[in-house]
Each structure stands twice: as C-alpha cells, then as structure tokens.
Symmetry: none
Subunit: 243 residues, 2 copies
C-alpha cells in the first residue's frame, strides 16, 4: 500500500476523554503509516495533555479538532463506524473487520475513507451512526466485547495496512548431504559403542536406529558442524581419560 493511498484514510475519534487513549491511537496510526487524525469534540483537557505528552507522535501534533461531523468526515466517500457490539439494531451495512479490510484497501486506491471511533464509555450514538455507511465489527469475545480505544485503532490500522494475504509457501529447509551424515555417524557410532549404548548383538539394530535419527533431524549445515565439534570433543575426552 503506497503512502499516497494511506493518506486517503482518515481516523476520526468522537468525544475521546482519555489522553492516554488519544496518544495511543495516534501512535498506532503512525506505526502503520497513517497520518490523518481528527477529533470531534474531544474533552479539551485530554487533548492538551495528550499533545504535551513526551514522545507524542507527529500524527498527534497535526491532529485537527472540530465540532462538526461534516468537517471531520471531509470528502470521504466511505464512512465506517467501529463497534464491538454485535446484532445492534441498525440499518448500516454490517461488516466484520476481518473481511472488510480488503474492501477498504480497494476503496482507498482512488477515494478517501473515514473510520469513526466512539467515546470510551458509550460508543457511538445513533446520531453519530447516521453519518456512516458501514458498521465494522471487531470479532471480540461476547463476554468482554468492548475494546480499549487505542487498541481498537491499532487493529483497524493493522487490518487495513496488512499485506495482501498470499497462500504461505512451504519451504523444505536446506539440510546436509548423506555424505555429511555419514561423517557424523563416523564420529557418533564409536562413541556409542565405547559407552555401551551399542553393545554386542545390538550393532545392526542400534546403528539403524541412530542413522534414521540423524536423517530425521534434517540438520542444516551449520548445525551439523556444531554437532561434529561436540562429538570430536567427547571423543577427545574418551581418549584422554585417565591421562
């Protein structure tokens, strides 16, 4: 997602009351490369405190304050409200955040989007919601649906900024050659014989078992070298005991 595209996303906090939440929302926006923060009727003291906090992000310094929803929403052609409450009676189009992210990304490619977050205690009012096209539902636990404001902003920014999901590739990791495994066995098997792990009559079965073990480990080259270094040192100790 280009930075031009990211500039088309506006985050609107409606009547936030807690300076820490305002600061956390601004930082999360900056974490994911979004910059356009508006506050509608914030508790003034909270906004002052948030702005003066050490390390307040540049996003917060540039935040705009208004009493007008129309101004806060600007020229957004898609306005989404966030809510953790499921099944709320509304005529808004309801979308789960997990599936709406892609649609919002697509919209942002050539048109602005605004996302509204309600006040900490009460959430968005029916009047606030009347400005919105979509209700974005964050799929929280019904026992504890309501999220912290700063965390909700972080989730929405993350979801919109996330890379398009590709099917993960399965890699087979590099592992050492059969020859290298034989060199390991050449060190390990004599140690196991000397220590009695491999004993008369068990050679064939135990050797097979240990060889399979080494094969299954699928040692990376560096891991194989470390194992050989340990085995050589154990060998040295065996040979020099009693010196």
């Amino acid at each position: 997602m280009s930075s031009e595209t990211k500039k088309r996303l506006r985050i609107v906090l409606v009547q936030p009351r807690n300076p820490l939440n305002i600061g956390a929302a601004a930082r999360a926006m900056y974490n994911f490369g979004f910059e356009d923060l508006w506050l509608v009727d914030p508790w003034e003291k909270a906004f002052r405190e948030a702005k003066s906090a050490m390390g307040a992000a540049k996003v917060l310094q540039n935040a705009r304050v208004t009493s007008s929803f129309a101004e806060a929403l600007g020229d957004a052609s898609l306005v989404a409200a966030t809510s953790a409450a499921k099944g709320r009676s509304t005529d808004l189009v309801q979308k789960e955040l997990t599936t709406a992210g892609h649609a919002i990304r697509t919209h942002l490619e050539d048109r602005p989007v605004a996302i509204l977050f309600g006040p900490e205690k009460y959430g968005l009012s029916r009047e606030d919601l009347s400005h919105c096209d979509w209700l974005l539902e964050i799929p929280t636990n019904p026992d504890c649906p309501s999220m912290n404001l700063g965390q909700a902003v972080a989730l929405v920014c993350y979801e919109i900024a996330r890379h398009a999901r590709a099917i993960p590739r399965l890699k087979t990791p590099a592992s050492v050659s059969a020859q290298e495994r034989d060199r390991i066995l050449g060190l390990l098997l004599p140690l196991l014989s000397d220590s009695g792990f491999i004993f008369d009559g068990s050679e064939e079965a135990q050797t097979h078992k240990v060889r399979r073990w080494i094969t299954r480990l699928r040692l990376a080259p560096a891991d194989s070298q470390l194992l050989m270094a340990m085995l050589r040192q154990l060998r040295w100790k065996f040979d020099h005991d009693g010196d």
Copy 2:
C-alpha cells in the same frame, strides 16, 4: 476457534514495567478469548498496581509470575517472539504476523504455543530469543516501528483468533516442549563441560549456542527420547571410566 483451542495459547510478558500496559495486554487477551497470561520478572510495583486497577480483567487476576523462562514457557512446543525490528540478525525463523497467524492457529488445534513480548524499552534480549522458534514480525512503518506493548498483544491475539480463511492447513511438525528441551540440556551441558567443549569463560556463549542448536532441531518426541538415552549412556561412561 474453540475455547479449548484458545486455552492452548500462552502470552508471556518479559519484564513489563508499566502497569497500564500489563492491564491493556490482559484486557486484549480477554477481548479475544485468551486466558493464559504469564509474566517473567515484572517490575513488582507495576504488577501490583495493574492487578488492583478498577476493572482489571479476570485474565490479570489469574496471571502467573515467575523468574524462570522454562516455567513460563511450560509445555509449549512452538515458542514465538514478537518484534517490530526488521532484518535483525538472528537464526530464528522469521515470519510476518500476517501470514503466521494461520500456522499458529493450526498448531493450537492440538499443541500449546507461547508468544513472548519483551520489555517496553528494550525488547527481547538475545538470551530471551534463544528460547524461541520463531520471530513474529509486525509489519510496522520503518519510521516508527516500535509498538505499544498492549497494542502489540491486541494485534497478535486478534490475528490468531480471526476467522480461518479458506487456505490450506499448514502443519507445524510435532516437536518436544521447551521443558523437554531443558531436560536434554540438563544432560548435554555437563557432558560438554566435562569434555572441555564448554570451558571457563565460554560458558555463556557456548550454552547459548547449544540451546539454540537444540531449539532448531525441533526434535520429535521419539527422537528426543533417543537423544536422551544416548546422552545418559555417555554420562554413565564418563562416570565409570577407570572402574
């Protein structure tokens, strides 16, 4: 994702210092239905304050405190560290959170997973990282990569709890728990000391190297047992040499 599955996820905060962050992490866990919170060496005052805060979630009341990584990681057979820093030099498997969530969900279906979050200022140390299999990268803005702790926990919980998409299941191969790996080290390290592989002055570096080696092997349970049997026999030989 069933609640039984969710119980297999453990969130581990390493040396958290800010009570608000501890509280926010616990609340985010509860928002997404996760319950198992551990703290390694928290700043004690911060933990007390967080627990006594109004509305501290049940998750926080049940949180466990320890000084032992082995205890905090418990029987997790996949341990992931979180980091916003890209390109950090490490031999951990690096995964973007956006693509790792599905693999973690699959693993949780029958095996426990622990996710580590570092202290607010410094992140996880090299020593902390030596316990981990994966480094989970949160795809943040390079200009402002470091996330607030509570928000990072919220993102990870959200990503893991999100509804499964129709992509192929990724199997993470069965491997032994962190506790079992500690038992192996308990046998191997003394042998390496006795043989001179670990010598005065090299303990820390060599122990770190060997611990990482064991972690990378991702031993299956039967392979771990075979390794321990071999190590016990080598131990017996060391102790009885000269008899």
